[in-house]
């Protein structure tokens, strides 16, 4: 590897070639977005196909880059491998900064996908109305964020389109412009009623699904005489109340004996 890596070298060329392939692969996707001709969001499959296509391209690029960097045999938890994967994850560019709650919520409500004792029940759960609603709300939420990205691209092309065509302006400047526009549009979107409403509906759908799941699991536990989450929560509540009472009594005794500082203003715990 040369000291100045921007000088010609095979690694650099491979990276450039990879980047070009990456951008080319995404071109139809962004073109569709920039023209505002989004797929029909009432058909989640159609929307998902687009994202899946971009994902597949990026996985290929990740494999190629991992091979170049000698990371292909490293375990998945290798920091460099993980970082490379994140850097080439198209979701970072599609949803980053706006979809975190959606993703986190889905992870929290869905739990792991590994087969377990509850597998059959989990399958049953995914056939419920709550699951269908969660999927639909998630898709509509993404459609709102995708429209914001479409506006980003439209504005970007309006601002720098001529420069790009004529080759004026540095790519770095264009990149900074793109980031500035993206930031403006995403922040504007986050404050729109349309976005807040979509996110609220995702949240509700996720929580309803989780509630349904809990009911199913508790039914399963009860038939097998296993304590349920609700019963344990009840116990936590009882213990909490008792702790407060004990504490208040101990404090009263200690204050009477002058072994602790007297508290004059607080009603709690004294």
């Amino acid at each position: 590897m040369s000291d100045k890596p921007t000088a010609s070298n095979p690694l650099m060329d491979a990276w450039l070639a990879g980047q070009k392939a990456f951008l080319d692969a995404q071109a139809p996707f962004w073109q569709e977005l920039s023209q505002g001709s989004l797929p029909d969001t009432s058909d989640p499959d159609q929307f998902s196909i687009l994202f899946r296509r971009v994902n597949e391209q990026c996985r290929s690029l990740f494999d190629a880059m991992a091979a170049i960097g000698g990371l292909e045999d490293e375990p998945e938890e290798n920091v460099a491998r993980q970082t490379l994967r994140r850097m080439l994850d198209p979701m970072q560019f599609s949803y980053a900064g706006v979809d975190e709650v959606n993703q986190v919520l889905l992870n929290l409500v869905e739990g792991t996908d590994v087969p377990d004792l509850m597998e059959l029940e989990r399958q049953r759960l995914k056939a419920t109305r709550e699951w269908a609603v969660l999927k639909r709300e998630g898709t509509e939420y993404r459609a709102v964020t995708a429209m914001a990205w479409a506006r980003v691209y439209r504005r970007f092309l309006e601002e720098v389109g001529e420069d790009l065509a004529s080759g004026t302006g540095s790519p770095y400047q264009h990149f900074e412009t793109w980031l500035r526009i993206a930031n403006d549009e995403l922040i504007r979107m986050q404050r729109s009623e349309e976005y807040l409403d979509a996110q609220r509906r995702v949240l509700r759908a996720g929580l309803n699904y989780r509630e349904r799941e809990r009911k199913l699991i508790e039914d399963w536990c009860e038939t097998r005489s296993i304590p349920t989450r609700s019963e344990i929560d009840d116990l936590h509540g009882i213990v909490y109340g008792l702790r407060k009472e004990v504490r208040a009594l101990k404090r009263q005794v200690a204050e009477r004996h002058g072994t602790v500082r007297k508290r004059v203003n607080t009603a709690n715990g004294t």
Partner: protein
């Protein structure tokens, strides 16, 4: 590809970091062990522990005379106090110890579902009150100075308003008092947390907390990430590439990542008060927020107050903090506006220098 006709992409990559930079940085990343990115390493000793709550005293630096009374640092239940001591050269704790401040910190621990019933009342009038009593007994004093940070500033304010006789000085940093203050902030990128919370029905918030028992740390972390969409977008590519070339910068980046990833769950009952009664209903400034059955009155804050806020705080917009000036009952009120954003107050070297020196001088002027 013709090498003598470099495409524009090449200069893009020169600015973003090159493939070789990346691979070199990736190699550097792979060689970093957990011990290289330890945080909160300033020596301290355990003074008191009650369930998951621990009170520590920072060990005074050898050769430095202790020049102040005890100061208790109170962080919030969202995030961890370790931010004040990320690394030796960016540590508010060390900066204050070097000046001779007698420093304590309360660590709320990692609440679990077993702690879901804990309210803000419990944290203020139970745990925090016990910590204060412990320090006063140990130091043989009747009053303490409290330094509250963010939600910890609110806990400190609540405590001081109801236990004024024990609080010598109240120092608040990046603390929300008027939870609708964002509506007066002209920067459209500030205050998304306020907007997001107000957009939810009370029933949504109750269901969220009821479902998980607590407010999951993952949820709060994700909302914080959403607040800076492009920063989140460029963090693991452009920003990371920019720091991988320099080992010290990379370690700083990773320490910050470590702190960001350490986000405990917020106890459920307290989260309901925080989100509904404070964020949504803004009860603190209305005088209708109750603690232990008694309304909290900000006019009861008659002790000297130093209120520190960030001029470009997107999480706690500055009008949320500065409203205290109108509402507190003290005649000795000082404000310090720091450049930069929320976390910058504690991790930027420049802000830390200003903060620690101002804080120390302000304290010394109020020592008897």
């Amino acid at each position: 590809m013709e090498r003598n006709k470099a495409p524009d992409l090449r200069s893009v990559l020169e600015n973003l970091g090159t493939a070789a930079d990346f691979l070199e940085g990736a190699g550097r990343l792979a060689g970093i062990a957990d011990k290289d990115v330890e945080v909160a390493t300033t020596p301290k000793e355990l003074v008191f522990r009650q369930e998951k709550v621990s009170l520590y005293r920072y060990r005074p630096i050898e050769g430095v005379e202790v020049r102040t009374g005890p100061v208790l640092i109170v962080y919030g239940l969202i995030g961890r106090y370790t931010m004040i001591d990320l690394q030796e050269d960016r540590s508010l704790v060390r900066n204050l110890l070097l000046r001779g401040v007698d420093l304590y910190v309360v660590d709320w621990g990692n609440p679990t579902r077993a702690d879901q019933n804990l309210t803000l009342d419990d944290y203020v009038n139970w745990y925090l009150a016990d910590c204060v009593d412990q320090i006063l007994d140990r130091a043989g004093r009747e009053e303490i100075s409290i330094l509250g940070i963010c939600e910890g500033g609110v806990l400190s304010t609540l405590y001081a308003a109801q236990n004024g006789e024990r609080v010598k000085n109240l120092i608040l940093t990046i603390t929300p008092i008027d939870f609708h203050g964002d509506l007066r902030d002209t920067d459209g990128s500030h205050g998304f947390l306020n907007v997001w919370t107000r957009s939810l029905d009370d029933s949504d918030i109750r269901k969220l907390v009821d479902t998980f028992g607590n407010l999951p740390g993952e949820i709060t972390a994700s909302i914080f990430q959403m607040m800076t969409p492009v920063k989140t977008l460029t963090k693991y590519n452009r920003d990371l590439l920019a720091v991988t070339a320099n080992e010290e910068s990379l370690l700083n980046f990773l320490r910050m990542e470590k702190w960001l990833a350490d986000r405990p769950d917020h106890p459920g009952a307290g989260a309901l008060q925080w989100l509904i009664e404070l964020y949504k209903e803004n009860r603190l400034i209305k005088g209708t927020f109750e603690l232990s059955g008694k309304p909290v009155c900000l006019e009861a804050l008659t002790m000297p107050i130093l209120n520190v806020y960030a001029e470009h705080d997107h999480i706690i917009p500055s009008p949320c903090s500065t409203r205290l000036k109108e509402l507190a009952g003290t005649d000795d009120y000082t404000e310090l506006a720091l450049p930069g954003g929320h976390v910058g107050v504690y991790v930027s070297r420049k802000c830390q220098g200003i903060l620690s020196s101002t804080l120390f001088e302000w304290l010394i002027e109020r020592q008897k």
